[in-house]
């Protein structure tokens, strides 16, 4: 207890120096916290933008479909799956889809395309497909020959809204799927998640075209909180309780995007570590000065019979107390700054658009990590930085220290 009291009084002994050291640590905390907040906010926006453009927070497929997509690997009991998903409070919306490759013809042009059958009403509730439309109208709510094509398909076939074209594919019953369609709309070339030659049509139209009956190849899920995608996907899988179904979060279905994001995050972590290393060096310098100034005092403590370990503990207690006070001050300042950044944000000079969403400012996301990670880092840095001066003080020879001024 006396050691703690001594440590606390030592912290307030040279107030100006302690204030500067504390400001350094608190400043590092705030910088770290704001960076994490902005990073979380930005990644949150990117994940939302990406997943709501097409992927969803998780997807349900027939087992094996993800590894090897096939017209024949489909969720057959859509009625049951729909009822189960409707009963989960974590599932905000879901949308069934069918996929199939086909050949598109218009005039003398032939292009391989990917047919995607969608339920427009459900997609509207779950995704932002409609906002990616550049021209014409979106897929009608009822089955119709009107389809929406990607800009690449339009360009390859040299067709536009209102033009007709043909699709030839293979039906699930072994028949040849062959029909004429009309271009109802064209997706954006630059702000769309559909870069390849895509052809979007009503799910019932696609099912009839591909002789799929009531089946679907994919059910895209949107949860109430994208951050809980893994947990909620596991919950959905448990609720569906069907070994023939595979439920995977977006981190698995979009593995490459997720890996790239993790790599980018690691880069951010390295930047944060550099910030903390600079702070640590500053704190180390101050601590060494303090130990040097108090050499005689530590000599007296040792002469009185204080063991080196007790002196080590005294210095560490001082450092950790200062770090704790700095963390408290840093957390308060960070709360205000992050609150401001989460509301007002930082304007982006050249706004970015994707999936029909325009990003004009970087917004901060305030989570527990915004405070816990800087606190743990500052305390760990203080602990590491404190070891050297503490060892130096603990190893002081009393007779030499008593001779110092």
């Amino acid at each position: 207890m006396l050691t703690l009291r001594m440590a606390l009084r030592n912290v307030f002994r040279n107030r100006r120096r302690s204030l500067l050291t504390g400001l350094m640590m608190a400043g590092g905390f705030v910088l770290f916290s704001a960076t994490i907040g902005l990073s979380e906010g930005t990644y949150g926006s990117i994940i939302d933008m990406f997943t709501r453009s097409r992927t969803g927070h998780a997807q349900v497929h027939a087992a094996g479909y993800l590894e090897k997509p096939s017209l024949y690997r489909a969720v057959s009991d859509m009625g049951r799956a729909g009822r189960v998903l409707d009963g989960l409070k974590e599932v905000k919306a879901w949308a069934p889809r069918v996929y199939a490759p086909a050949l598109a013809f218009a005039g003398s042009k032939t292009v391989g395309t990917q047919v995607m059958g969608i339920d427009p009403a459900r997609e509207r509730a779950a995704m932002r497909l409609e906002t990616q439309l550049a021209d014409g109208a979106f897929v009608a709510d009822a089955a119709s020959p009107g389809v929406v094509i990607s800009a690449r398909l339009a360009s390859a076939l040299k067709i536009k809204t209102g033009d007709e074209f043909s699709l030839i594919g293979q039906g699930a019953d072994g028949s040849v799927a062959n029909d004429n369609f009309r271009v109802a709309g064209v997706l954006s070339a630059t702000e769309s998640a559909f870069e390849a030659p895509w052809c979007l049509m009503h799910i019932d139209t696609a099912r009839e075209f591909l002789a799929l009956g009531g089946r679907a190849h994919e059910i895209a899920l949107v949860f109430t909180d994208y951050r809980a995608a893994r947990e909620d996907a596991a919950l959905a899988a448990a609720a569906l309780a069907d070994p023939g179904l595979d439920v995977q979060p977006w981190q698995v279905t979009e593995k490459e995007f997720y890996q790239a994001m993790l790599l980018d995050k690691k880069g951010g972590d390295i930047t944060n570590l550099i910030i903390m290393a600079i702070v640590a060096v500053g704190v180390l310098n101050t601590l060494l000065m303090a130990v040097l100034e108090r050499t005689r005092e530590y000599g007296v403590l040792k002469a009185l019979g204080t063991r080196p370990a007790a002196i080590f503990r005294l210095i560490m207690a001082e450092v950790m107390l200062l770090a704790l006070i700095s963390c408290a001050a840093g957390a308060l300042a960070s709360l205000g700054l992050n609150h401001y950044l989460s509301g007002t944000g930082i304007p982006i000079p050249d706004p970015v658009s994707y999936g029909g969403v325009k990003f004009t400012r970087m917004l901060s996301a305030v989570t527990a990590r915004t405070f816990t990670q800087p606190a743990v880092t500052v305390l760990a840095a203080a602990l590491i930085v404190g070891i050297f001066p503490a060892l130096k003080a603990a190893r002081i020879t009393p007779v030499k220290a008593l001779g110092s001024r």
């Binding site: 006396l2 009084r9 007296v300 002469a303 009185l304 080196p308 008593l402």
Partner: protein, 230 residues
Amino acid sequence: MEKEFVIEAKGVTKTYAEGEVKVHALHPTDLAVRRGEFTAIAGPSGSGKTTLLNLVSGLDLPTSGRVRLAGKEIGAMSQGELSDFRRDHIGLIFQAYNLIPVLTVGENVEYVLLLRGMAPGERAERVRRVLEEVGLGGKRNRFPSQLSGGQQQRVAIARAMVPEPDLILADEPTANLDSATGSALMDMMKELNERRGITFVFSTHDRMIMDKSSRLITLKDGRVQSDTLK
């Protein structure tokens, strides 16, 4: 019956290396101090009295020779064992008082008891009693910076005597004090010596301390010149 020895130093020397030059601070010296003595080691600056005091307090180790304190050989002790030995057997009083500035008077005195792991109740009682004894009963919650030089040295004396050590070593205890204050403090230590039997060894070049001591050892150029019992 003769009392036992508290200090037994035989043939102790201390040589410092200053660059390539070797400085013989203490030539082979014998010193034996019995329990209850009130001894002054006198001599001019550089005569080796502080060196001798550092060696017999275990703050420093001799270049050669042997030192026994309270019946224990200290030459073979590690730094940690020496710390424990000083804590348990020796009280130190310094010329510059050397109180811990962030501790109050009471806490400065209590600190050495805390090192011994004494129970809180006994600690509080001992601190109260010793502060009364040195006339600082009312200044327990003051910080050293709020006291005069004489009062600070009283606190240092209280700190040295509170664990009831075998030996109190005082290095020029009156050097920073005016003569009246110094004399009063010496009277107080003499009285503690007589009443409680605490062994005191001073290093000094203050005539007043030499006069009040019961044994006077003089050093010159690192050698004992005289050893007189009064």
